[in-house]
Amino acid sequence: MSDAIVIRNLVKTFDGFRALDGVNLTVPSGSVYGLVGTNGAGKSSCIRCLAGIYRQDGGDILVDGQPVFENPAVKARIAYIPDDIFFYSQAGINDMVKVFRDVYPSFRMDRFTELGKIFNLDPKQPLRKFSKGMQKQAAFWLALSVMPDVLLLDEPMDGLDPLMRRKTWSVLLGEVAERELTVLVSSHNLRELEDVCDHVGILDHGKMLLQRSLSDLQENMVKIQAVLPEGTDLPDGLHVLHRSATGRLQQLILRGRAEDVERQIAACNPVYMDVLPLTLEEIFIYELGGADYEVQNILLS
Protein backbone atom coordinates (compact mmCIF):
# COMPACT_ATOMS: atom_id res chain seq x y z
CA MET A 1 0.00 0.00 0.00
CA SER A 2 1.67 3.18 -1.12
CA ASP A 3 1.35 6.55 0.47
CA ALA A 4 -1.40 8.71 -0.90
CA ILE A 5 0.10 11.91 0.46
CA VAL A 6 3.73 12.67 1.17
CA ILE A 7 4.87 16.07 2.36
CA ARG A 8 8.58 16.68 2.85
CA ASN A 9 10.03 19.76 4.48
CA LEU A 10 7.16 22.00 3.51
CA VAL A 11 7.92 25.66 4.02
CA LYS A 12 5.41 28.47 3.50
CA THR A 13 6.00 32.08 4.38
CA PHE A 14 3.47 34.89 4.54
CA ASP A 15 4.93 38.38 4.64
CA GLY A 16 8.05 37.18 6.38
CA PHE A 17 6.21 34.94 8.82
CA ARG A 18 7.02 31.25 8.51
CA ALA A 19 3.61 29.67 8.85
CA LEU A 20 4.91 26.25 7.82
CA ASP A 21 8.43 25.58 8.94
CA GLY A 22 9.55 22.29 7.46
CA VAL A 23 6.49 20.08 7.81
CA ASN A 24 6.80 16.36 7.19
CA LEU A 25 3.64 14.39 6.77
CA THR A 26 2.74 11.00 5.35
CA VAL A 27 -0.73 9.66 4.75
CA PRO A 28 -1.01 6.06 3.63
CA SER A 29 -3.56 5.16 0.99
CA GLY A 30 -7.01 4.35 2.25
CA SER A 31 -6.46 5.81 5.67
CA VAL A 32 -8.15 8.57 7.59
CA TYR A 33 -5.57 11.01 8.84
CA GLY A 34 -6.40 13.52 11.52
CA LEU A 35 -4.42 16.74 11.52
CA VAL A 36 -4.56 18.36 14.92
CA GLY A 37 -3.35 21.73 16.12
CA THR A 38 -4.34 25.14 17.49
CA ASN A 39 -5.58 27.98 15.34
CA GLY A 40 -2.59 29.43 13.62
CA ALA A 41 -0.62 26.21 13.84
CA GLY A 42 -0.68 26.02 10.07
CA LYS A 43 -3.33 23.41 9.39
CA SER A 44 -5.29 25.41 6.86
CA SER A 45 -2.17 26.62 5.10
CA CYS A 46 -0.92 23.06 4.91
CA ILE A 47 -4.17 21.86 3.43
CA ARG A 48 -4.27 24.72 0.94
CA CYS A 49 -0.79 23.79 -0.20
CA LEU A 50 -2.02 20.24 -0.62
CA ALA A 51 -4.99 21.41 -2.64
CA GLY A 52 -2.67 23.27 -4.96
CA ILE A 53 -3.95 26.71 -4.06
CA TYR A 54 -0.74 27.99 -2.51
CA ARG A 55 2.64 27.49 -4.02
CA GLN A 56 5.06 26.32 -1.36
CA ASP A 57 8.20 28.28 -0.69
CA GLY A 58 10.14 25.09 -0.07
CA GLY A 59 9.72 21.35 0.13
CA ASP A 60 7.72 18.79 -1.81
CA ILE A 61 4.05 18.00 -1.82
CA LEU A 62 3.25 14.72 -3.51
CA VAL A 63 -0.07 13.02 -4.01
CA ASP A 64 0.23 9.52 -5.43
CA GLY A 65 3.85 10.32 -6.00
CA GLN A 66 3.16 13.38 -8.15
CA PRO A 67 3.68 17.02 -7.25
CA VAL A 68 0.40 18.82 -6.83
CA PHE A 69 1.01 22.42 -7.79
CA GLU A 70 -0.26 23.26 -11.29
CA ASN A 71 -0.74 19.58 -12.02
CA PRO A 72 -4.31 19.13 -13.27
CA ALA A 73 -3.92 15.38 -13.70
CA VAL A 74 -3.34 14.95 -9.97
CA LYS A 75 -5.65 17.73 -8.81
CA ALA A 76 -8.50 16.07 -10.66
CA ARG A 77 -8.35 13.29 -8.14
CA ILE A 78 -8.29 15.55 -5.10
CA ALA A 79 -11.43 17.04 -3.61
CA TYR A 80 -11.13 19.88 -1.13
CA ILE A 81 -13.67 21.22 1.31
CA PRO A 82 -12.49 24.42 2.99
CA ASP A 83 -13.65 25.60 6.38
CA ASP A 84 -15.16 28.73 4.82
CA ILE A 85 -17.22 27.52 1.92
CA PHE A 86 -18.19 29.92 -0.76
CA PHE A 87 -20.89 29.71 -3.30
CA TYR A 88 -21.76 32.34 -5.82
CA SER A 89 -24.91 34.20 -5.06
CA GLN A 90 -27.91 32.66 -6.77
CA ALA A 91 -25.99 29.49 -7.48
CA GLY A 92 -27.86 26.39 -6.49
CA ILE A 93 -26.41 22.93 -6.15
CA ASN A 94 -27.46 22.15 -9.71
CA ASP A 95 -25.42 25.10 -10.95
CA MET A 96 -22.42 23.92 -8.98
CA VAL A 97 -22.89 20.47 -10.45
CA LYS A 98 -22.52 21.93 -13.92
CA VAL A 99 -19.19 23.45 -12.95
CA PHE A 100 -17.95 20.33 -11.22
CA ARG A 101 -18.91 18.11 -14.10
CA ASP A 102 -16.97 20.26 -16.50
CA VAL A 103 -13.96 20.54 -14.31
CA TYR A 104 -13.62 17.08 -12.78
CA PRO A 105 -13.52 14.25 -15.33
CA SER A 106 -14.38 11.68 -12.70
CA PHE A 107 -17.59 13.36 -11.55
CA ARG A 108 -20.40 10.81 -11.57
CA MET A 109 -24.02 11.91 -11.92
CA ASP A 110 -25.33 8.58 -10.77
CA ARG A 111 -23.32 8.81 -7.60
CA PHE A 112 -24.59 12.36 -7.17
CA THR A 113 -28.17 11.18 -7.44
CA GLU A 114 -27.49 8.32 -5.05
CA LEU A 115 -25.96 10.60 -2.48
CA GLY A 116 -28.88 12.96 -2.86
CA LYS A 117 -30.94 10.51 -0.89
CA ILE A 118 -28.64 10.84 2.03
CA PHE A 119 -27.98 14.55 1.93
CA ASN A 120 -31.54 15.49 1.25
CA LEU A 121 -31.08 19.09 0.12
CA ASP A 122 -33.01 20.98 -2.52
CA PRO A 123 -30.64 21.19 -5.51
CA LYS A 124 -32.44 24.14 -7.04
CA GLN A 125 -32.42 26.49 -4.07
CA PRO A 126 -29.73 29.15 -4.05
CA LEU A 127 -27.06 27.99 -1.70
CA ARG A 128 -26.92 31.38 -0.06
CA LYS A 129 -30.23 30.58 1.56
CA PHE A 130 -28.99 27.46 3.26
CA SER A 131 -27.65 27.48 6.79
CA LYS A 132 -23.91 27.08 7.19
CA GLY A 133 -24.32 23.46 8.13
CA MET A 134 -26.43 22.73 5.09
CA GLN A 135 -23.88 24.45 2.91
CA LYS A 136 -21.23 22.13 4.28
CA GLN A 137 -23.43 19.19 3.49
CA ALA A 138 -23.80 20.46 -0.04
CA ALA A 139 -20.04 20.72 -0.27
CA PHE A 140 -19.71 17.11 0.82
CA TRP A 141 -22.33 16.03 -1.64
CA LEU A 142 -20.48 17.63 -4.51
CA ALA A 143 -17.04 16.54 -3.36
CA LEU A 144 -18.01 12.92 -3.00
CA SER A 145 -19.69 12.85 -6.39
CA VAL A 146 -16.30 13.64 -7.86
CA MET A 147 -15.20 10.17 -6.68
CA PRO A 148 -11.88 11.55 -5.52
CA ASP A 149 -8.89 9.49 -4.49
CA VAL A 150 -7.99 12.00 -1.84
CA LEU A 151 -10.35 14.12 0.20
CA LEU A 152 -9.03 17.15 2.07
CA LEU A 153 -11.25 18.44 4.84
CA ASP A 154 -10.59 21.62 6.80
CA GLU A 155 -12.70 21.66 9.98
CA PRO A 156 -15.43 19.86 8.09
CA MET A 157 -17.89 19.17 10.83
CA ASP A 158 -18.08 22.70 12.15
CA GLY A 159 -21.69 23.73 12.06
CA LEU A 160 -23.11 20.28 11.50
CA ASP A 161 -25.49 18.86 14.04
CA PRO A 162 -24.60 15.48 15.60
CA LEU A 163 -26.97 13.60 13.34
CA MET A 164 -25.49 15.11 10.24
CA ARG A 165 -22.01 14.47 11.47
CA ARG A 166 -22.80 10.83 11.88
CA LYS A 167 -24.41 10.63 8.47
CA THR A 168 -21.51 12.34 6.81
CA TRP A 169 -18.85 10.25 8.50
CA SER A 170 -20.89 7.23 7.72
CA VAL A 171 -20.73 7.95 4.01
CA LEU A 172 -17.09 8.90 4.14
CA LEU A 173 -16.03 5.81 6.01
CA GLY A 174 -18.05 3.69 3.64
CA GLU A 175 -16.02 5.06 0.76
CA VAL A 176 -12.79 4.62 2.65
CA ALA A 177 -13.66 0.99 3.21
CA GLU A 178 -14.97 0.33 -0.25
CA ARG A 179 -12.58 2.07 -2.59
CA GLU A 180 -9.64 3.12 -0.48
CA LEU A 181 -10.52 6.78 -0.35
CA THR A 182 -7.82 8.64 1.55
CA VAL A 183 -9.07 11.33 3.89
CA LEU A 184 -7.08 14.07 5.54
CA VAL A 185 -9.14 15.92 8.09
CA SER A 186 -8.09 18.83 10.26
CA SER A 187 -10.02 19.27 13.41
CA HIS A 188 -10.03 20.36 17.01
CA ASN A 189 -12.44 17.65 18.01
CA LEU A 190 -10.24 14.83 19.27
CA ARG A 191 -13.22 12.89 20.48
CA GLU A 192 -14.52 12.59 16.96
CA LEU A 193 -11.15 11.89 15.44
CA GLU A 194 -10.52 9.10 17.86
CA ASP A 195 -13.14 6.91 16.23
CA VAL A 196 -12.66 7.70 12.64
CA CYS A 197 -8.95 8.21 12.25
CA ASP A 198 -6.31 5.60 11.94
CA HIS A 199 -3.44 8.07 11.79
CA VAL A 200 -2.92 11.36 13.54
CA GLY A 201 -0.45 14.22 13.33
CA ILE A 202 -0.03 17.20 15.61
CA LEU A 203 1.00 20.45 14.04
CA ASP A 204 2.33 23.25 16.20
CA HIS A 205 3.88 26.55 15.11
CA GLY A 206 4.40 25.24 11.64
CA LYS A 207 6.10 22.02 12.64
CA MET A 208 4.89 18.45 13.01
CA LEU A 209 5.30 17.49 16.66
CA LEU A 210 4.10 13.97 16.44
CA GLN A 211 2.80 11.73 13.72
CA ARG A 212 1.72 8.16 14.39
CA SER A 213 -0.86 5.56 13.65
CA LEU A 214 -3.62 5.49 16.18
CA SER A 215 -3.23 1.85 17.04
CA ASP A 216 0.45 2.48 17.68
CA LEU A 217 -0.40 5.20 20.13
CA GLN A 218 -3.18 3.33 21.82
CA GLU A 219 -1.37 0.08 22.23
CA ASN A 220 1.70 1.56 23.77
CA MET A 221 0.16 3.33 26.67
CA VAL A 222 -1.89 2.11 29.55
CA LYS A 223 -3.79 3.87 32.29
CA ILE A 224 -4.05 1.89 35.50
CA GLN A 225 -5.71 2.56 38.80
CA ALA A 226 -4.36 0.39 41.56
CA VAL A 227 -4.09 0.03 45.28
CA LEU A 228 -0.84 -1.62 46.24
CA PRO A 229 -0.35 -3.65 49.38
CA GLU A 230 1.07 -1.81 52.38
CA GLY A 231 4.76 -1.25 52.12
CA THR A 232 5.14 -2.37 48.52
CA ASP A 233 5.95 -0.25 45.58
CA LEU A 234 5.70 -0.80 41.88
CA PRO A 235 7.98 -3.42 40.42
CA ASP A 236 11.08 -2.30 38.57
CA GLY A 237 11.22 -2.24 34.85
CA LEU A 238 8.00 -0.31 34.46
CA HIS A 239 8.13 2.81 32.30
CA VAL A 240 5.98 5.25 34.24
CA LEU A 241 4.95 8.36 32.36
CA HIS A 242 2.79 9.84 35.07
CA ARG A 243 1.92 8.95 38.60
CA SER A 244 -0.48 10.52 41.07
CA ALA A 245 -2.28 9.29 44.14
CA THR A 246 -5.40 10.04 46.12
CA GLY A 247 -4.87 8.37 49.41
CA ARG A 248 -3.79 4.85 48.65
CA LEU A 249 -5.37 4.85 45.21
CA GLN A 250 -2.65 5.27 42.62
CA GLN A 251 -3.28 6.63 39.14
CA LEU A 252 -0.61 5.48 36.73
CA ILE A 253 0.12 6.16 33.10
CA LEU A 254 2.61 3.66 31.78
CA ARG A 255 4.30 2.96 28.51
CA GLY A 256 3.81 -0.53 27.18
CA ARG A 257 1.20 -2.99 26.11
CA ALA A 258 -1.75 -3.37 28.43
CA GLU A 259 -1.37 -7.12 29.00
CA ASP A 260 2.32 -6.86 29.76
CA VAL A 261 1.92 -4.00 32.20
CA GLU A 262 -1.02 -5.64 33.89
CA ARG A 263 0.94 -8.81 34.38
CA GLN A 264 3.90 -6.95 35.78
CA ILE A 265 1.80 -5.09 38.30
CA ALA A 266 -0.24 -8.13 39.14
CA ALA A 267 3.04 -9.75 40.16
CA CYS A 268 3.14 -7.58 43.26
CA ASN A 269 -0.34 -8.57 44.30
CA PRO A 270 -2.21 -5.32 44.28
CA VAL A 271 -5.26 -5.07 46.49
CA TYR A 272 -7.09 -3.53 43.55
CA MET A 273 -6.20 -2.96 39.91
CA ASP A 274 -8.20 -1.67 37.02
CA VAL A 275 -7.35 -0.69 33.46
CA LEU A 276 -9.03 2.56 32.48
CA PRO A 277 -9.72 3.94 29.04
CA LEU A 278 -7.25 6.49 27.75
CA THR A 279 -8.63 9.27 25.59
CA LEU A 280 -6.72 10.45 22.60
CA GLU A 281 -6.21 13.72 24.36
CA GLU A 282 -4.50 12.07 27.28
CA ILE A 283 -2.37 9.99 24.96
CA PHE A 284 -1.18 13.11 23.26
CA ILE A 285 -0.47 14.93 26.47
CA TYR A 286 1.70 12.14 27.80
CA GLU A 287 3.36 11.43 24.47
CA LEU A 288 4.39 15.03 24.25
CA GLY A 289 5.98 15.00 27.64
CA GLY A 290 3.40 15.42 30.30
CA ALA A 291 0.78 17.88 31.37
CA ASP A 292 2.79 20.79 30.12
CA TYR A 293 0.80 24.00 29.86
CA GLU A 294 1.78 24.54 26.26
CA VAL A 295 0.95 21.03 25.24
CA GLN A 296 -2.39 21.24 27.04
CA ASN A 297 -3.05 24.40 25.16
CA ILE A 298 -2.62 22.72 21.83
CA LEU A 299 -5.01 20.00 22.60
CA LEU A 300 -7.68 21.55 24.68
CA SER A 301 -8.70 24.20 22.18
Binding site: S31, V32, R166, W169, S170, V171, L173, G174, V176, A177, E178, D195, V196, C197, D198, L214, S215, Q218, E219, E259, E262, A266, D274, V275, L276, P277
Partner: protein
Protein backbone atom coordinates in the same frame (compact mmCIF):
# COMPACT_ATOMS: atom_id res chain seq x y z
CA UNK B 1 -26.52 -4.93 16.10
CA UNK B 2 -23.29 -3.98 17.80
CA UNK B 3 -23.07 -0.96 19.99
CA UNK B 4 -19.90 0.68 21.18
CA UNK B 5 -19.57 1.82 24.74
CA UNK B 6 -17.08 4.65 24.81
CA UNK B 7 -16.65 4.47 28.53
CA UNK B 8 -15.52 0.93 28.32
CA UNK B 9 -11.81 0.62 28.89
CA UNK B 10 -11.47 -1.93 26.14
CA UNK B 11 -10.26 -0.82 22.73
CA UNK B 12 -13.02 -0.45 20.18
CA UNK B 13 -11.87 -3.31 18.01
CA UNK B 14 -12.16 -5.59 21.02
CA UNK B 15 -15.72 -4.47 21.62
CA UNK B 16 -16.56 -5.15 18.01
CA UNK B 17 -14.89 -8.53 18.13
CA UNK B 18 -16.56 -9.53 21.36
CA UNK B 19 -19.87 -8.23 20.21
CA UNK B 20 -19.79 -10.35 17.12
CA UNK B 21 -18.56 -13.35 18.97
CA UNK B 22 -21.59 -13.05 21.22
CA UNK B 23 -23.92 -12.78 18.24
CA UNK B 24 -22.39 -15.84 16.64
CA UNK B 25 -22.50 -17.94 19.74
CA UNK B 26 -26.06 -17.05 20.58
CA UNK B 27 -27.03 -17.87 17.03
CA UNK B 28 -28.23 -14.37 16.13
CA UNK B 29 -25.80 -14.68 13.26
CA UNK B 30 -26.55 -18.17 12.05
CA UNK B 31 -23.84 -20.54 10.99
CA UNK B 32 -22.84 -20.13 7.38
CA UNK B 33 -24.40 -16.66 7.14
CA UNK B 34 -22.53 -13.80 5.66
CA UNK B 35 -20.91 -11.29 7.99
CA UNK B 36 -21.77 -7.66 7.34
CA UNK B 37 -19.13 -6.04 5.14
CA UNK B 38 -16.40 -3.95 6.67
CA UNK B 39 -17.84 -1.04 4.77
CA UNK B 40 -21.29 -1.47 6.24
CA UNK B 41 -19.93 -1.73 9.75
CA UNK B 42 -17.57 1.19 9.42
CA UNK B 43 -20.37 3.22 8.00
CA UNK B 44 -23.00 2.36 10.52
CA UNK B 45 -20.77 2.58 13.57
CA UNK B 46 -18.86 5.55 12.14
CA UNK B 47 -15.54 4.10 13.04
CA UNK B 48 -12.48 3.54 10.98
CA UNK B 49 -12.66 0.53 8.67
CA UNK B 50 -9.26 -0.66 9.86
CA UNK B 51 -10.71 -1.10 13.28
CA UNK B 52 -13.41 -3.34 11.86
CA UNK B 53 -10.84 -5.22 9.81
CA UNK B 54 -8.87 -5.96 12.88
CA UNK B 55 -11.87 -7.32 14.75
CA UNK B 56 -12.73 -9.52 11.80
CA UNK B 57 -9.18 -10.79 11.58
CA UNK B 58 -9.28 -11.85 15.19
CA UNK B 59 -12.63 -13.53 14.81
CA UNK B 60 -11.20 -15.47 11.95
CA UNK B 61 -8.14 -16.37 13.99
CA UNK B 62 -10.40 -17.65 16.74
CA UNK B 63 -12.22 -19.72 14.20
CA UNK B 64 -15.60 -18.04 14.40
CA UNK B 65 -15.51 -16.81 10.85
CA UNK B 66 -14.07 -17.89 7.56
CA UNK B 67 -13.20 -15.54 4.74
CA UNK B 68 -13.81 -16.61 1.20
CA UNK B 69 -11.69 -14.68 -1.32
CA UNK B 70 -13.88 -12.50 -3.48
CA UNK B 71 -16.98 -13.23 -1.47
CA UNK B 72 -16.45 -11.87 2.00
CA UNK B 73 -16.55 -13.27 5.51
CA UNK B 74 -18.92 -15.97 6.63
CA UNK B 75 -19.87 -17.29 10.02
CA UNK B 76 -18.32 -20.66 10.38
CA UNK B 77 -20.71 -23.46 9.83
CA UNK B 78 -18.44 -25.43 11.94
CA UNK B 79 -19.65 -23.58 15.02
CA UNK B 80 -20.76 -26.79 16.49
CA UNK B 81 -17.18 -27.86 16.26
CA UNK B 82 -16.18 -24.78 18.16
CA UNK B 83 -18.89 -25.31 20.74
CA UNK B 84 -18.02 -28.94 21.00
CA UNK B 85 -14.43 -28.00 21.59
CA UNK B 86 -15.61 -25.67 24.31
CA UNK B 87 -17.51 -28.46 25.95
CA UNK B 88 -14.51 -30.72 25.68
CA UNK B 89 -12.27 -28.11 27.22
CA UNK B 90 -14.72 -27.52 30.06
CA UNK B 91 -14.68 -31.21 30.79
CA UNK B 92 -10.91 -31.15 30.85
CA UNK B 93 -11.07 -28.16 33.11
CA UNK B 94 -13.31 -29.92 35.53
CA UNK B 95 -10.97 -32.85 35.82
CA UNK B 96 -8.03 -30.46 36.15
CA UNK B 97 -9.76 -28.65 38.99
CA UNK B 98 -10.37 -31.98 40.64
CA UNK B 99 -6.69 -32.83 40.33
CA UNK B 100 -5.59 -29.49 41.75
CA UNK B 101 -7.85 -30.00 44.70
CA UNK B 102 -6.26 -33.31 45.23
CA UNK B 103 -2.79 -31.75 45.44
CA UNK B 104 -3.97 -29.15 47.93
CA UNK B 105 -4.58 -26.02 45.79
CA UNK B 106 -6.71 -23.47 47.55
CA UNK B 107 -10.03 -22.46 46.06
CA UNK B 108 -8.94 -18.86 46.35
CA UNK B 109 -5.89 -19.57 44.18
CA UNK B 110 -8.04 -21.10 41.48
CA UNK B 111 -10.49 -18.24 41.57
CA UNK B 112 -7.66 -15.78 41.31
CA UNK B 113 -6.32 -17.43 38.20
CA UNK B 114 -9.78 -17.41 36.67
CA UNK B 115 -10.17 -13.78 37.52
CA UNK B 116 -6.84 -12.87 36.06
CA UNK B 117 -7.54 -14.66 32.83
CA UNK B 118 -10.90 -13.05 32.41
CA UNK B 119 -9.54 -9.61 33.07
CA UNK B 120 -6.99 -9.57 30.26
Amino acid sequence: MISINYRDGRPIYEQVRDGFRQLIITGVLPAGSRMPSVREMASSLTINPNTIQRAYRELEAEGYTVSVPGKGSFVTDRLDAVLARREALLTDFRSLVGELKQVGAEEADLTRVIQEEYNT
